[in-house]
Amino acid sequence: MAAILEIENLQTQFFTSAGTVRAVDGITYSVNHGETVAIVGESGCGKSVSALSILRLIPDPPGRVVGGHIRFMGLDILALSDAEIRKVRGRRIAMVFQEPMTSLNPVLTIGRQLTETLEHHLGMGREASNARAVELLGMVGISDPQRRLAQYPHHLSGGMRQRVMIAMALSCEPELIIADEPTTALDVTIQAQILELMRDLSKRLGVALIIITHNLGVVARYADRVNVMYAGKIIEQGSALQIYHQPSHPYTLGLLNSVPRLDRPRQAKLDPIEGQPPDLTRLGAGCAFQPRCRFAVTRCAQEIPPLETVSEGHVSACWRRDDLGEKMRDAS
């Protein structure tokens, strides 16, 4: 399988009055054709910024991609002109955003918001694009699609709106869809529906998917490969199985332990990760997770651990990944 998207040493920074925020600090990963890749991490770890960087949607000022490469199907994304990147956005790489409540324009009809992409990218006429919009709404499981075209976002529930967002993302048959916390704002029952729908459609249409989430449960069920991010860096990378069964970074382990699970005794307490994520304007010399890490040793505060292989296709950035592998798992 060939990689359709390769991100190499991507660095995105925000220049604020409080200092330079290294929101994304040298991440490298790739996405293969038709594959689902997850990016997992706490709020503010740079996962959304890394996604927005792919489509060059970082508001500038204050933000900018300052280094690295993004290659998509032979295109050097960071070197494209504004007109060229617009041909990629929505046409070849589409996005689904976190907040379906605010991500749809409240004063335009659902139909208009669907057809404008079709008209713009595919040059469809009014009738053809309306017909396609109806088809798309049907595809994402919205009942009575013809009538919905004339409705406004506030007529729809949150789950329905997210379906509309997905329909919008699918409309031009892109090769890649980036879903930034697509289910965070939704009810739990709806979350599963939306994720099933996305997985279904991506498998059926062969669309690659990047799912950004803070929920490792989502990852386990829907992703092929996982990138765990902390403080702007990828600190562990591997297949979903590897991450789930052999977490090799204390942070990944912490994330797993902080999720309630049905297969644990009911009395078992949740084990949260203590402390707060670090201030990205003032990172110390060592591992960014060290102040919160219960396995930290002196070296952790002095040198940043590099990503090193744990097993085939599984890397982790922890000085103690080898000698702590077993202990960490026992601790869970």
Binding site: L57, T102, N105, P106
Partner: protein, 323 residues
């Protein structure tokens, strides 16, 4: 929707009644009346009996509730009465000037819209560049400059440039002609006061357009539109401007009502026989009936503009529904 419109129209009646009471009472709180000013205004001795007779004739000695009853009865029968000062028919007097004032108000609003929306939009898109600074300076200047001063400058400018270019100085005509008779003549008179007041009033709206648009451009749905690969022009026109227009529309609505009766000095500068001038003269002469009807005219326009703005809201934002 129709039920809402009818409800709103009916609700206007108590508002107008309240305004009528207020104006009626306020006018009578001011010491002196039209008879004193007419006869003793210049300080000469006047037989108090003559003043008394004058009051008797104008009905100023009637009990207040009778006088008020007459005003209200006048509204019900569409008879605005006669001026206490000149004795002329008020409907006629206002009618003479209303056409001009309404036209200036319309044109000034149009000028303001044509300046404010494009400039505010450019300023927001080019935030913190020299274009933005130029626009902001231009609009601050509009707020700082009194429109009568701008009016004087315009007239002077016209005189000087026409003399320099054509040899003969040219000034806008002084006599009003209806636009239906002589459009060119009409416009050559009224375009200047419209520009002078429209510029000032565009300043507030430009700044409002800029700031609301900046806010809207940070909304999630604008990011969605960008992620769709739409052209920046489409994003601004289709996705952002309609959302940003609500507060701007409110400003235009309120300012329009003000323009009908509030252009006192500008009318003076351009020698226009408008409602503002009539207003001031009537207050000076304590012409109770005329002031009453002029204020009520402005109130009616104000209430109506507010109503219109509310309807525009519903059109601009489908989330707003009236029932």
């Amino acid at each position: 929707m129709y039920a809402y419109i009818i409800k709103r129209l009916i609700l206007m009646i108590p508002t107008l009644f309240g305004a009528a009471v207020l104006v009626f009472v306020l006018m009578r709180l001011v010491p002196g009346d039209v008879c004193e000013i007419k006869m003793a205004g210049d300080g000469a001795f006047v037989d108090p009996e003559a003043i008394e007779i004058c009051r008797q004739n104008l009905g100023l000695n009637d009990p207040v509730y009778v006088q008020f009853g007459q005003v209200i009865w006048g509204y019900l029968t569409f008879d605005l009465g006669t001026s206490m000062w000149t004795g002329r028919d008020i409907t006629h007097e206002i009618g003479l000037r209303f056409q001009l004032s309404l036209q200036v108000a319309f044109m000034a609003t149009l000028v303001a819209i044509l300046i404010a929306i494009p400039l505010g939009t450019i300023s927001a898109i080019k935030q913190d560049t020299w274009i933005d600074y130029v626009v902001r300076t231009f609009s601050i200047a509009g707020i700082a400059m009194p429109s009568f001063w701008l009016g004087i400058m315009i007239i002077l400018g016209l005189l000087i440039t026409t003399q320099a270019w054509f040899g003969d100085p040219w000034m806008p005509p002084i006599v009003y002609v209806s636009p239906f008779e002589d459009l060119a003549g009409n416009l050559s008179q009224l375009i200047w006061p419209a520009v002078a007041t429209g510029y000032r009033y565009s300043a507030v709206a430009t700044r409002m357009t800029r700031s609301t648009l900046l806010e809207v451009l940070r909304e999630d749905y604008v990011r969605t539109a960008r992620a769709k690969g739409l052209l920046e022009r489409v994003i601004i026109n289709r996705h952002a401007l309609k959302n940003a227009m609500l507060p701007v529309v409110t400003i235009f609505g309120i300012e329009f009502a003000f323009l009908i009766g509030g252009l006192v000095v500008t009318e003076q500068v351009f020698n226009l026989n408008g409602l503002g001038k009539l207003f001031v003269e009537s207050v000076e002469t304590s012409d109770f009936t005329m002031v009453q009807q002029l204020v009520m005219l402005v109130v009616v326009i104000f209430v109506f503009m507010n109503f219109l703005v509310d309807l525009l809201y519903a059109w601009l934002d489908p989330r707003i529904r009236y029932a």
